[in-house]
Amino acid sequence: MTLDLGNYDGARRFLEESLRLSRENGDVMGIASALNHLGQVANCLGDYAAAHARSEESLAIKREVGDTITWMGPLVNLALASTRLGDRGTASARLIECLELVWDSGERRLGARALEACAMLAVSIEDDESAARFFGAAGSLREAIG
């Protein structure tokens, strides 16, 4: 909620506390979830190196203990951070993996986020038509989801 309202510093504080408590209690999926959201917050704050590190750690945990559906969040966050860091190869690979999971699962909300990440990648290579199409498709998806 705090993140959705755009209060990134507040969200980060809550998430750091959540991460600390999860580590104390040995709650592995809690750790992975907090790291994933910290990656999202770091992207929003423009700290792309931190976003990359947090998302990689989250993904590594989720690959070990989580269902594949839980991989999509860190995959999108990694793609966004990689795009901003100029590592388009990693961004592309993460997005392909994520969209294949989206395809298999039918998970539309993360599908919309993945399409927006595709748009960001398109912007980075100045493929504006694709960027507009992906932003548009993501917007349509979000409208359909409600």
Binding site: S92, L99, V123, F135, S140
Partner: protein, 63 residues
């Protein structure tokens, strides 16, 4: 798109708008995106197009 997400994508959306030379408008109505709602009504179609686009990047962009 939540306000936070819109803020995150603001620069990218602004860049697309500027390069299209369009009026400020919601991203979904910019240029070709306006036709996306008709052309890509299905979730699967949008995901499929994105996967095809990403696959095509490798040789073109040297990824």
């Amino acid at each position: 798109m939540s306000p936070a997400e819109r803020a995150f994508y603001q620069d990218a959306i602004a860049a697309v708008r500027e390069r299209f030379g369009g009026e400020p408008a919601p991203a979904a109505s910019v240029g070709p995106a306006a036709s996306v709602k008709k052309a890509l009504p299905a979730f699967e179609a949008a995901v499929g197009e994105a996967l095809e686009w990403l696959a095509g990047l490798t040789p073109v962009e040297g990824l």
